[in-house]
Symmetry: none
Subunit: 199 residues, 4 copies
């Protein structure tokens, strides 16, 4: 009965849909999901309130689209980084590069990352996308390592753990919350730890 969401084909429409997503992206970042209302999204996107519901099912649907954009923003650079890793290679060189890339990404997407993550506890769909993302990255990285001749028991577990470490550190690094921490030193510790993990 209610399925009138336009799947925009024309350039103009696609661009408008993207503007709404972009507006959602910004506002969710700045004010959080609950602090943002649809009227404000429409306004920032330069469209009327009504048309928002021409492109999206409801407010949450905008969130899901914003999430997809974010997920892509995160996924693509990581994957393209993996692709660039070719023999001869040394883990010692690779690991810092990955770490720096993840940090860079975190820096760029810090606020939306927080806004979205904060919803994963109450929104099943949001949670499952984050899980899938982790799954995909874990798998891609594990495959890569194996293809590069690195073997180990519990490869998946190690890789996943490595990913957790990296994420956790990137988070620390970007938020820079603890004054007494020397993040540069910490970065070296992280690298060393990761290196040992796969040796």
């Amino acid at each position: 009965m209610k399925n009138n969401i336009r799947q925009p084909q024309q350039e103009r429409s696609i661009e408008k849909k993207n503007r709404i997503i972009q507006a959602g992206y910004e506002l969710f970042s700045e004010l959080g999901y609950y602090g943002t209302n649809t009227a404000e999204i429409a306004k920032r996107a330069g469209v009327s309130t009504g048309i928002v519901y021409g492109y999206f099912l409801d407010k949450r649907d905008i969130l899901i689209c914003v999430l997809d954009i974010y997920i892509n923003n995160v996924f693509e650079p990581i994957i393209s980084l993996f692709d660039k890793i070719t023999p001869p290679f040394s883990l010692k060189e690779i690991i810092p590069k990955i770490l720096d890339e993840v940090i860079k990404m975190h820096k760029k997407n810090r606020k939306i990352h927080e806004a979205l993550h904060s919803l994963s506890s109450s929104d099943e769909a949001v949670l499952s996308r984050f899980i899938s993302l982790e799954d995909e990255i874990t798998e891609k990285f594990a495959t890569k390592l194996v293809s590069l001749g690195i073997k180990s028991d519990n490869m998946i577990e190690k890789v996943h753990f490595a990913m957790d470490i990296i994420q956790s550190f990137a988070h620390e690094y970007v938020f820079d919350k603890h004054e007494y921490i020397d993040y540069i030193a910490m970065r070296d510790i992280v690298c060393t730890t990761l290196l040992k993990l796969f040796k």
Copy 2:
């Protein structure tokens, strides 16, 4: 400039305030902050809606109190565990114990942990309490290790990193999100990693 918040002195009042906090704790856990309304909190606490504002500044103020309870729930067992560590001791034995304790805590407080964490991105006060908690635990642990004769460069950074790892793993372990992960194997990897960190 309203400041009519009663600082309850009488036993009856203190108990009532606590009942409200407890109700908030439960409901925020179950439904999240935005999914809970103050009327429901009052109802569950067995008090009137109005009196909530006799004890708390606003809804967020309840949250802060719930947060304090939570922080304490987390902090106390960890600290008391540290206190029990006395020479002669081996890191190899201690680390799994700490890990298991943190996991136990996460299990017990999983939902409220999520509800509260999800607010740390939009609420300065919530964030700063979490930071302080980390600070305190880091410091206590570092001090402990030093007092037990373990020395190292960048002790603080290592300890903080260790804490991140432990938290991150406990999270993984408790949420059990990825079917393909053997969490028992992962646990061993984490222990080994932590051990190497301080060797």
Copy 3:
């Protein structure tokens, strides 16, 4: 989860609930159900929009209450009229009395009658109340006639048909839509017809 409708016990509250119903009654009469909004009902009742939802589940719930009032307005006088009929009696005297009473009622409740009836096609609950009303009146009247010694085959059908006729005429009479009709003459025809029906 949502069952917070106050069942007002105190006089003040009951009176307020009644004021809202009264406002609904008037506005639905004047503007129809779809032409009336809840804000307007609240305003006319002299209350805030919010409190309306303290007394009623939703807008339709107000309608149902208005309906109940209306049903009662119709039912009570009819029944009390029946009660007054005691032997010795003549149908010839009784029938015009009933007719006039029904006409009087229609006059008084014309607009709300229309507003409510117009919803019976789209609202199950509204429809079923009207049906019940007819059922009850039919049954009471049939019982009355029998108790007064009037016997006939298909008594129920005759009574129901009589009721239809009466309603139909009252409608005609009150609305006075057709200029060329001499409603006084028509009234006599109706009386005669009804009389023959039970002879």
Copy 4:
């Protein structure tokens, strides 16, 4: 003072206008006037939303056209039935035929009948068309009866009353709302009543 409504001359246009009316007819029947939106009408008619306003003033204007169709659906069969009545004839045979015809019509148009009637209380134009319909039928029938040699005082009133009875019964019969009613028996009562009316 907009008056850009096309009076379609070309066949294609006329057909398109009719498709919209037909779609309105169906949807108003199924969902009622307020449950139907213009976009849905356009969709069902296979035209664009915009063009609806090329053929109709507004949503209500579609309703009026639907009403005209309905009125015709009702009027034509009745009139043609009257036309077939030629001497020698007996009222006793004629009356059941008319009754059955009206019932048939009610069956066929039950839902749209309800949808339209429910609007007559709030829409002057709708009401007046129903009144005119009754006027015309009353007049045609009265004329017919006279031409067939049936004379009586207050002929118009009797005829109109007869029409009310027929309508009322057809309504009862088609809606079949009261379980305890034997509608077949009731039908006989109605026929007898009508017969006596003109004797």
